[in-house]
Assembly symmetry: C2
Amino acid sequence: MAELFNGLKSYGSNNFLKELKGKKPFFVCVIATTATSRIPDISGAGATSELMEYTPAGDVELIAWGELRCCEIPPQTVVDGDSAPTPAMLTKAVLELTDAPYLVVNAGSRINPDIPYIKLADGKYGEDIRTGKALKNPKKIFEEAKLISGELSKNNDYLVIGESIPGGTTTALGVLTALGYDADFKVSGSKPFNPHNLKKEVVMEGLTNANLLDGIGNIGKIDPFEAISAVGDPMIPAVAGMVFGATVPVILAGGTQMVAVTSFIKAIDSNFDFSKICIGTTSFVANDESSDLFNILSQVDDIDVHVVNPNFEKSSNDGLKNYLKGFVKEGVGAGGAMLMALLLGYSIEEIRDKVEELCD
Amino acid sequence: MAELFNGLKSYGSNNFLKELKGKKPFFVCVIATTATSRIPDISGAGATSELMEYTPAGDVELIAWGELRCCEIPPQTVVDGDSAPTPAMLTKAVLELTDAPYLVVNAGSRINPDIPYIKLADGKYGEDIRTGKALKNPKKIFEEAKLISGELSKNNDYLVIGESIPGGTTTALGVLTALGYDADFKVSGSKPFNPHNLKKEVVMEGLTNANLLDGIGNIGKIDPFEAISAVGDPMIPAVAGMVFGATVPVILAGGTQMVAVTSFIKAIDSNFDFSKICIGTTSFVANDESSDLFNILSQVDDIDVHVVNPNFEKSSNDGLKNYLKGFVKEGVGAGGAMLMALLLGYSIEEIRDKVEELCD
């Protein structure tokens, strides 16, 4: 179909975007951690395994202050001595360019950022999902998130909700699998080599320990909050709660983790009207041959996907060029944030220039 | 001068209000506690001395959920067996009536509310100001609050900022005195009998222990953050930070505690343009013969005051009628919230009816 903007490729109707063009957005970044990210080689959302849980805090510190406070080494993906900067830089570039308002929601993190944030529930981070006991009270996170987005909906025209949670595609795989979807070898990852077998082993161990193996292949069998409690993370009920509480359209800014959010939403309300939400993501996720967002999403429902390509092949920054090799791909709402900038009238070139300026 | 609304009395120019009429507000309630409120008889912002520190949490739980979660006994002022409900009921009535968006900012409380809130700095509550060491890091609270109001200013036309902090008029007296103002016997209080001598003794002990006695009568002598660190509370730097960070007009919703905020603002920036802010308060504070908001405020600067009278003499609720006898007077932004409702087109009768409906 005809694209609304240069740099954008839309799957599904464009009506949603036409409605939001030039309107007032509010950007929310939901951060969280689970001990799952400590499993060696499972995630690339941090320079080392030990630094993984500093990534969400570091990401939002970079956005808020332009500098790190929780640690010294910036969030980044490192493979064989090569590295790519955190997608927080893309999001920060958009927020600076557009002057769109934002807040950070902390759904539960081991390392709390040194910025002001909205604290949800008890702020407890998730456990290793191999235990089958990842979260104590996802319902409370969900209810509190609902309240927040209800308030933020009042004077804003739409919400853009991103996430930063290392190991988040593994917990996404856990929730999708528990809820009956076939997501094996389909979730994304932050490194060029996607450790699908490891992710699946971790999820199976968790489902076994939680006695939830009957969820496999059986949509509607497992209670959604039970699935989150067993093998989920704090981000999923937070973002889903915000979707239920919102009275304005919502752009889910992310890749396959946001697909897990839609599966959770569908499990809570099988008649949910998905025309009021869409997924905004990057071309790095959409074009990734080691994952399949569209396949999983189509199992959930008919949900629009809008893909932004910042054309980093035109960039002079080597770190950004590594995105083209499968480093990072998405996170901190980068794709949805760029979509928001397009909706606010900025060109993809202006966005890329601003990202480069910040990264250089 | 001619009043803009029935139930409102304005001191200063009406231009500010004319500009905001019908515009989009965002309401913020800043909560905090200090151990000062445990001093027997110093505050009436709670049923007993022990319950005092539960009042801010209880207030915002009532607003968010319509029920208490942190404790069982609702915040209220009790004198000789007679009682008046917390002003949170007035604020809740306005928020329900107008559907205006709000968030709670927790600047540092001993009892954290069981709601989602914006956490500032380390969340540490204030000590007893008699120690002269009330707060460790008011500058951090101030800087983080600035960031929050900067974001909330972007898609809203003005901010209304209230507070809930028991013993807050005593810490207000502390800060005003340290900064050189004559506020003796002039700050408000939540009970019909205002314990001015006790408040003064507490403040003098704190100033002595902090070696700040040279502030008395000497405006500009003491560093404002030093004054807060010695004898202030977490609310004052939070609200002041929000004023500095805001790029839209601000209504300071409160009585003499908000005057202390203006004195702190003036001490930070002697050229601050006070025409972009005003104080919105209740007739119970403005008409109180045991305190003098106008006198202290005039020492600070030329700042508009807008006084709302909900005419509780027309109410059938005995608790609300006790406001006329000097119970409560103000808090949780009640006066400024009612002003916001007037600006949004609601009549003082509609506001009072809604308050009665909630209290009955």
